[in-house]
Symmetry: C2
Subunit: 366 residues, 2 copies
């Protein structure tokens, strides 16, 4: 009987640059050709993005192999789509020296990022998010993944992109409901990390809703700065990264129970109000705090109540099966004050009794 201790050093830090601008899409291929000259390029996008003209704006006359996810949306975020993308890359004789360019919303980024993580043991990926939610959220952080036939995000990997390009002009073609819903993640970032940003968002909301590119660049920059700092502190979600989950415990339950008729950001808005009601109940929310948060979210015209059609029992069941649940009950991320998450005993998420959640759900129906 003998033992051998193996010590494989890690690959080192992931360093990359997020470029933010308006109308930069057309300049990306030349920049990628310069920065990744030895690599073959392959675009993954979806039919919505093509219809909006973004693929044409990106490529111009450049000839680049492209996979168009169709139908677009959550339904295609499935392992079968990844298999299909990888077979397309093989048929195009692509190898390890490939850069995948992911052009689209969060679904495209998740699918293409996961394909990049597993093709030939990993190739590089450039993310070009084109929606409010993906520009705020999914272009930073390295979470990639797709669903199985049985459950959501059954497949996935942590994999950082090599570069991110955010062109806020791509938001101009986004439909109004998607646009507003995606901004809820910006409000969430402000609430967990930056009270000045919260004030900025409220003050500039008319310009944001008017899709003013200068303000949108500032918003994109601040979102990425906040999220990158959290992810850098805890890349694989052992502890602090959970604060990004603020509003998502009840939010996911509402989104799932609505069978995705509520958009992600809409459900998270309801979840944020829920987390705030819990904090109030537990006695650590200043009296006017809920009102200030409601005002900010109301400016986005997103629902702040659980739709009457959803059953409370279903919501409870889903909360118990939350992927972060331990002994069938998750911990909750709660605010200490606007711009700061409650932190106690080394933890960023906390025990909340089922009774309090039950009462909170009741209040969210009213």
């Amino acid at each position: 009987m003998s033992q051998l201790n193996v010590n494989i050093p890690s690959a080192g830090a992931d360093r990359y640059t997020i470029h933010i601008g308006s109308g930069l899409l057309g300049s990306v291929p030349a920049q990628l050709e310069k920065d990744f000259s030895g690599l073959s390029k392959f675009v993954v996008t979806d039919s919505n993005v093509v219809a909006a003209g973004h693929l044409a704006r990106l490529l111009g006359k450049a000839q680049v192999g492209t996979y168009i996810i169709d139908p677009p949306g959550e339904g295609s975020k499935h392992i079968d789509t990844v298999v299909s993308i990888i077979e397309a890359m093989e048929k195009a004789s692509l190898g390890r020296d490939t850069l995948i360019i992911a052009l689209g919303g969060g679904t495209v980024g998740d699918i293409a990022g996961f394909a990049a993580a597993i093709f030939k043991r990993g190739v590089k990926v450039a993310q070009i998010p084109t929606t409010t939610v993906s520009q705020a959220d999914s272009s930073v952080g390295g979470k990639t993944g797709v669903d199985s036939t049985i459950s959501k995000n059954a497949y996935g990997a942590f994999r950082q992109p090599q570069v991110v390009y955010i062109d806020v002009e791509t938001l101009k073609t986004l439909d109004d409901r998607q646009y507003r819903s995606g901004l809820v993640e910006s409000v969430k970032h402000a609430l967990i990390a930056d009270d000045e940003y919260f004030d900025y968002l409220k003050k500039n909301m008319p310009a944001i809703l008017d899709r003013d590119c200068d303000v949108l660049e500032q918003v994109a920059y601040t979102n990425c700065r906040i999220k990158a700092a959290v992810v850098a502190a805890d890349p694989t979600e052992q502890n602090k990264r959970r604060i990004l989950n603020f509003g998502h415990t009840i939010g996911h339950a509402v989104e799932s129970a609505s069978k995705f008729s509520l958009l992600h950001g809409e459900a998270v808005a309801i979840g944020i109000i829920g987390a705030e009601l819990i904090a109030q109940k537990m006695g650590f929310a200043a009296p006017d705090r809920l009102k200030r948060i409601q005002e900010a979210l109301s400016m986005l015209s997103v629902p702040l109540k659980i739709p009457k059609g959803l059953q409370k029992e279903d919501l409870f069941d889903i909360i118990k099966r939350d992927k972060k649940a331990v002994n069938q009950w998750p911990k909750f991320v709660l605010l200490d004050k606007i711009g700061h998450v409650y932190f106690k005993d080394g933890q960023w998420a906390h025990d909340v009794g089922q009774q309090i959640v039950d009462e909170t759900l009741d209040r969210l129906y009213l």
Copy 2:
């Protein structure tokens, strides 16, 4: 236009222990229960391993969810098998807190390791290799992956195990041809890294072929020590790790052209002789070196000639499409002396003209 530089720290080194013994299989579950107490366990194995009695020896009366790959072998090393394993884990309500136990040869390790790398963004894996080739080779190094319908190893990830158990008694049930073929990787390790080990192997070959457990423990330990040192120096195969590819360039071509009627180790034995003929031709092989290597490999009763039925044009075509080829021609790993790879200009693999390879193939048919 603005830029944000993101710096995500790496997760740190992968540290794990390889336990080597004879008859240790039955003690593994208790040890895993102790070392990974909070994790659900799930076994991935194949029908050959079950038939050999290893699964029963591992589990005893313990009740552990198990997926049995059937049919066993290369044909099942496909993304469809991974999908099927992950759906089985979902049906068993397994989550991120899972330890996959991979019990079997290289194919089982590759499939189970890849499933672990991508299930819920990654779960832990314990490798229990049961063949000469997997105990020498695939239980260390972190390469995991499966084939697509179009090509080999289209899917994969670098992912180190959390622990490895090598029970040399499992080799007693291995069929003779598999057993001898797998030992070629041991000879390869000696040739690239340790001339004393080369002498040890030759001297102890009768005991090895007699499946003497004490000697086999020493062989397993030395293989893992050599491979772990190479992998630690270059985990993702940027340069030095290529030396593990010694004998594999011509070897892979012969294996593939034979449509896998030659076993991997048999093909690598031919490839090792090929690499040696090239080194001789290029003038840096001492006159008796080829003979010494032929003697060692002959003790394993593996073929050292290319079967007459294989076409030289096919071999050439496959070599040109080698996954490490640049401009349709791979570089070759060659020996400087027994126990040391030729290193020049910072490179461990070298340019060899097509003419030399052509003549070498001719000699390998004789």
